[in-house]
């Protein structure tokens, strides 16, 4: 009997943490089969390549926990990238310093990006438009406005220092000699450049600062509790005194804020603004949230789970490139993982919940 209980407990633990185990399994697999997969350089690449999905999925987690969905974020990335790039180009051309132009560009995009979120939330909360329809409408509108602003041509002639920001690192370390913070040491010989170790990409730092803040908000604050409450049972939440309408508007604004942030990061990395930027990542973001343990019917999900979900996709993507396997296989793999995640979610709750009740 004891043995049975023990195995059962292990089984449940594995089921609960299967995504983490899966992620580790992926990394181990690619490290063995791939070439230098487990190098600092490559691991940082995975984080950088996952930036858009990580940011979109974090915002989406809030919406999905309330039982809604935000489809507009796909084109919100493009909208925000075009707005910030355009502002940067115009200000720089008008004689502003590069730093000022870049800062104002990013802030403008982040602020303007709140408006579609507000409208989404207003439609869903006050006018009772189904989230799927409201945000799908906004998806098209954001794309259209982005194309108008950039005149159907990717924004170019951006400030030249963008690249050193977007591709820069927090630390540069020349073993035994220099440790430089934020700026790449100058006047290095070719030999020294070869040995320069770059640690923690800037875009990853920015992304994780915001992800961390919002993970805290969701897990530890009243705001987070209310978010779960609304997803669990909206009527009960209302009776308990949660201002559901205002809360939903805030949640949709969080989602569009993260999409705008992803757009700004896009400009830093790719030094251009394009209307369709990031639209291909919408599906990946929703998948990451679901793999991460959130339920589309609401009330469940964590930022930690979402981050792991996003990394599962990123690790796979970079792994396939490392092995020179065409990435369309990625879609098949991600599709399978998604379905598997939902299956685990459907069959495991009884076991896990029962177990928790017994305790």
């Amino acid at each position: 009997m004891i043995n049975y209980n023990k195995t059962r407990e292990i089984g449940i633990n594995i089921l609960r943490r299967w995504i983490l185990i899966f992620l580790v399994g992926e990394i181990v697999f690619f490290s063995i089969v791939g070439t230098n997969y487990l190098s600092l350089n490559n691991l940082q690449n995975i984080l950088v390549a996952s930036t858009t999905v990580l940011l979109l999925a974090t915002g989406e987690t809030f919406v999905i926990i309330t039982g809604g969905i935000d489809l507009s974020i796909g084109f919100m990335v493009g909208f925000s990238s075009v707005v910030s790039a355009k502002v940067m180009v115009d200000l720089w051309a008008a004689g502003f310093s590069q730093t000022l132009a870049i800062t104002i560009g990013i802030l403008t995009a982040l602020l303007l990006g709140l408006i579609p979120g507000f409208i989404n939330g207003f439609l869903v909360a006050k006018l009772r438009v189904p989230p799927f329809i409201a945000t799908f409408g906004m998806y098209g509108i954001a794309y259209g406005f982005a194309e108008i602003i950039c005149n159907n041509v990717p924004v170019h002639n951006l400030p030249t220092s963008l690249g050193s920001l977007g591709h820069g690192y927090l630390f540069y370390w020349l073993p035994g000699k220099i440790l430089s913070f934020l700026s790449k040491p100058e006047n290095l010989s070719r030999e020294e450049l070869k040995h320069l170790v770059s640690i923690v990409p800037n875009v990853t730092v920015i992304a994780f600062i915001f992800i961390g803040i919002f993970a805290f908000i969701l897990a530890k604050t009243k705001f987070g509790q209310h978010t779960y409450a609304i997803g669990g049972n909206i009527n009960a939440a209302e009776r308990a005194g949660v201002n559901v309408k205002v809360h939903l508007i805030k949640v949709y604004m969080i989602s569009s804020f993260f999409a705008s942030l992803a757009g700004a990061m896009y400009v830093l990395q790719f030094i251009t603004g394009r209307a369709p930027a990031g639209s291909a990542r919408l599906l990946d973001a929703v998948v990451a949230v679901v793999i991460g343990g959130a339920s589309l019917s609401g009330g469940k999900g964590t930022i930690m789970g979402t981050v792991i979900g996003a990394l599962i996709i990123g690790v796979l993507e970079i792994g396939l490139v490392n092995l020179s396997i065409p990435t369309y296989n990625l879609h098949i793999a991600v599709g399978c993982i998604l379905i598997f995640a939902v299956l685990v979610d459907q069959f495991s709750p009884e076991i896990i919940h029962k177990e928790e009740e017994i305790r």
Partner: protein, 322 residues
Amino acid sequence: MKKLIIGILLICLVLSFVSVACAAKLKIAFMPGIADPFYFTMEKGAKAKAAELGVELIVGEYPKAWGPEYQVPILKALVARGDIDLLFTAPTSTEALIPVLKEISDSGIPIITVDTYLGDGDYTKPSNYNFPLAFIGTDNFLGGQVVAGQLALMLGGKGKVFLENTNPDVSSVMGRELGFRAGIKMFPDMELVGVEYCLDVQETAAAQVNAALLKNPDLGAVFGVNVFSAQGAYQAITSAGLEGAVKVATWDATETLIEALKRGEVDLILAQMPAEMGALCVEWGFKYLTEGAEIPRKVIPGFFVFTQENVNDPEAQKYIYK
């Protein structure tokens, strides 16, 4: 949970010691711009040359669409393998790829840009983009002029022409545009009535050419700078019932376009020499790595013009991308 994390860290540690570097053949990496016959042909040329020289050619995945957001993640993952001796690539943006390739170059991997270049492509003067060893690719400006001249010949030296371009931040197609503009100016009775950018989307190209046809019912010819813009142009011309009346000139002798030329949908194709470009990259790269040879900063293979008259010549067949 703690045990699990510690376990993971231990596994990672062990694996990082396991990674073995085996030094054998020289490894040259090729990072293409987009999945299309032009770069496929380039890979074939490079592969043949690599086999001849005993070099291993590692080909990055072909990006599904044109642009740094598709190319950069693949490029970074490719280079992170850490076993590459030299990289040749077609940067998908004159600006956005500068910091990315600079970092790779600084990490000790010499770079050759092929087909497209960084900045204005002049790597001899001081700039933040003069680090590649060389640019190996067609003189797009000259090619644009040649197309303009050939179209003028077809139209009897007078008439209206329209240019359907793809991306304003890509060196190759902008070179074609500038050359075409300059070429048309040489004919006083020729007029360039418009330029549009379709971003490699055929439907967009069709819509834009359609609008141009409505605005200019007497349009004489369209120059579509690549396969997507040319096919979009032809689509618009047929749906307006104007095939034959409006000439279509294009670039790149893909089998699709050669078939279109044979059917009379396209009237002129300028063929580049992608296989030769790929082979040149491997050859010069090999010479640089083994003998420290100085590579010319610019290497320009020629081109060939296909028309309906010569498309079936046995001599011309070798210029078709296969």
